[in-house]
Symmetry: D2
């Protein structure tokens, strides 16, 4: 089992792979971008892909949403989340006063801004493609310090000069695990999430209301809705939606069919257990048993014995 | 084939039976009330019942709606409509000046009020259980004149002293033909109506909106909605609803199942061709073919090959 | 103070007038029809009109709704309700076995059907324009018995041969009191009802939803909705609506303006205290104070100091 | 007039300032981040701020939305848009074969990926804080080439080695111009946009529907809706919304008041002319004249002369 993840080694995504407790013989393979990690699953270089989906600070990771929506052949099978805690990593023996240049992913700078102003007001910020890359540059002697997770220190033989240097102590990132669509999907639980991308036929007033009504009329809560540009022009959009429940649930299945009928295009991205364990709210009248009873009743009416 | 109708002979309902062009060996049997005519079908005394459903002047005929909803075992199979034109019927030789007492159903008085004030301002109005009964009383010498359809003159050996005495020249009544629910229902056409009674679970704000949304989200037009008391107390209601389409239409079937899930009780009263021939409006995305395509797509998604 | 009511003496409507506890010098004047009673107020023959509005058995009284909607110059100022209890009234000395012909309003027959079948199975039913009229005919010796309220016995010098002969012990009728629209309307209380008639511009799918949304978006409960024919043709409708609250409530006023903008025509029929005393539900965000705070906020935004 | 913009010199934002045709004596001052440029307006260092708002490729610029929403004292007064066209800039005399290291903002790499693979497959990518910064590094001899707009070449004394190196020829970015909220807002035109941030009181099913209904019931089209994390925890959101129309339009003002009543918090971000010139759709029944007529009608009803 090979896991393709957004690398390099030492990123939070690698830590996310570890948190999934993969089998002992699993191999985690870093890729330089979200798109590369996902392509590896599509082409069979890897069986699973692990990429960030949503940050409590930055919101949806657009590279992930856009690649899953535009590409094909993949389904989300699981999700996990990690608290995002930054440390300042240096070569052994470096003191704060020695740090003239510090690097990391641009989001690392954004999330550690107050600490940097207070403790390294004069250090140059050198943006890097990832926090792992920043750590690698420190190890190679090309940077004095890197902002990264503490777990990256071991990977690159660095020291933790300062821990918990992030401004917001509650920052969390959610990661998704994708698999080829030909594999069997995870079975429904009572705590699932379904992700879908919906393309409107036009943008008449109320088109978005129509989409949301397909969920609301069946008592399905949404946890995310995001208009995303299709890339063609400003103002041309699709909607990325996370809802509660599983495509095997009767109410979710019927809502998906409703979307399919009213939208120009619907891309199903997967149904999978939520990592927060929050149970799906089932409004009275929307359980599988109630759907089945209604279907049996309709069949009797249509046969003329109702 | 026996047709039980709201009698006696000489009523508009009898004319409605004739307009249905029943088979040559059919027999039309008058009953004294809507309830009695419908019971005759339930008990097997008749194969069909014909009763008024809606008047363009008075609206829904509550006796018909309430009996169909409260009772069981019947389905509407057809509808027909008649213009409502009143004549003043008398014994041969009667002149206007001879008319001291005129009778008819209370609605006849309501629909001929202006003519009566202008031409018989001093005549006593004697309400009767039906217009046919009024004609019978004239024939028996107990009334001077009756308001009824011209066709009643022949039945009772009366003359038409004045025709078209109604105030509103466009009055129309719609009649329904009911059959035992064990009989096969009429096949779908492209111009059907479906009648249903829906009982709410409670009257929270928005309960009615929920019901209507089950129709609207599937593009189904309503032609009638009527809150009707359940008879238990003021403010306890059910809703009588006529919508476009047939229960065999995918969108109508799904809407019926939706009603069944959100309502305390749903009574299906029948799907049948409209007498006005107006074609059902099918909103894009709600045809049977689009429902079938969406179901096939969902099946592929659930199998993991979508 | 003259009260025009649906007569004659001895009807439930007269009892409704008494239940209103009119001033000592008030005079109650019977009129032969709902329309005549309402016209009396329009023409100044009376200061108030009292007519039935809704029966727990028959539903909305269409004559009242249609006259108030079609006419002008009147507003509902109050409502009251009475339990509907029938008695069998006869001349003194009459025994059950003597009753060959019994009369009353057609609804009286409908509401006493079981008692009549059990105790007077062979008596002829003679429909009358009102229960009071039936009692008058008994007093005049032209009928053996009348179905009417017990209070009618005293009016016509009759005896109560049997009391509580109605089938449904909970039947109730609601009556409204109307006044000229030039009079000041009743002040808002916390338990008001507002009646309105709304004419659609067309019957596209969702037109009714649009109307209901004007209420729902502002948290206003509806207690009645009724499609009523305009009289022009089958399928041409207006909607009679009762909602909670008073036109002086901010949320009701804004909803009325919304109706006015989306409908072809809106007829306001009045805001008045409910006779059942049920307090208006005020959803969070819809109180007068919250409307006022929002208006003040908007004014600041528009001034550029928000 | 001082314009604070997202710098440094040579960025697309600087080009956006130029496209606004500022007065001759205007000064454009670069700031290192969106937050710094906006703060400059809040503190009076500048009279206007110009920052990117939306990219046709990446969507909403979260730094801009989040700063405008969290901060206070600013209003959007205008918007402008620019096609995003990248060039490869080098020192004079550099040939493609000499380029070992190329830099730019991470989005520049994302938007030129195909050209880079085809023409510079072996060059190292060195992410920079902005395209202008990359150009500066080339001028300083620390990078071989930069991806930036052609207009940056002149600023830094560089040559255009290759033009139009971006993959998507239609990429466009929209920029907004902000001013202190104490200044008079732009007057309404017939082609306005209004931006607002709405915080839900809770996330019950249908909370988002409630917000959207406040717009839909008044016929207001939305052009953007985006759930954005509040930063407190995953799944805690506000909604950033762009709608058609101006806060001085009656329908928009009423919708804003509705939002204010149903939301925990509403931040008005501005009403301003659209740069695409698309005229606001005004649904029948929602013009200022119709709102005024409805208000006059309501006033008459409340006075009792309606």
């Amino acid at each position: 089992m090979r896991y393709a993840y957004l690398g390099p080694e030492g990123t939070f995504t690698e830590a996310a792979v570890a948190s999934l407790k993969p089998p002992a013989d699993a191999v985690a393979v870093p890729f330089p971008s979200v798109g590369a990690a996902l392509s590896a699953v599509r082409t069979g270089q890897a069986e699973r892909g692990v990429v960030p989906m949503e940050s409590s600070v930055e919101g949806i990771v657009t590279a992930t949403v856009d690649d899953l929506t535009a590409g094909s052949g993949l389904r989300i099978h699981a999700e996990t989340r990690l608290p995002i805690a930054f440390a300042l990593l240096t070569a052994a023996g470096t003191a704060l006063g020695d740090v003239k240049a510090v690097g990391g992913h641009p989001q690392a700078q954004a999330q550690c801004r107050r600490w940097l102003s207070a403790h390294l007001p004069h250090a140059e910020w050198v943006p890097q493609a990832s926090n792992g890359e920043a750590a690698r540059q420190v190890a190679a002697g090309r940077l004095d310090a890197a902002l990264a997770g503490e777990f990256a220190a071991g990977k690159y033989g660095l020291s933790v000069l300062a821990g918990d240097v992030h401004d917001n102590g509650n920052a969390v990132t959610r990661f998704v695990v994708v698999a080829p669509e030909s594999e069997a999907a995870p079975a429904p639980t009572s705590t699932d999430r379904t992700s879908v991308a919906a393309f409107l036929t036009d943008d008449h007033a109320g088109a978005l209301m129509e989409i949301l009504t397909e969920f609301a009329v069946r008592g399905i809560n949404l946890s995310t809705i995001q208009s995303r540009p299709t890339g063609d022009a400003l103002g041309s959009y699709f909607f990325f939606i996370d809802c509660e429940g599983h495509i095997h649930d009767a109410r979710v299945g019927e809502a998906m069919m409703g979307l399919r009928r009213v939208c120009a295009e619907v891309r199903f991205l997967g149904s999978y257990p939520r990592c927060d364990g929050r149970r799906t709210h089932v409004r009275p009248g929307t359980s599988d048993a109630e759907f089945a009873a209604a279907a049996a009743w309709l069949a009797r009416l249509r046969d003329g014995h109702g």
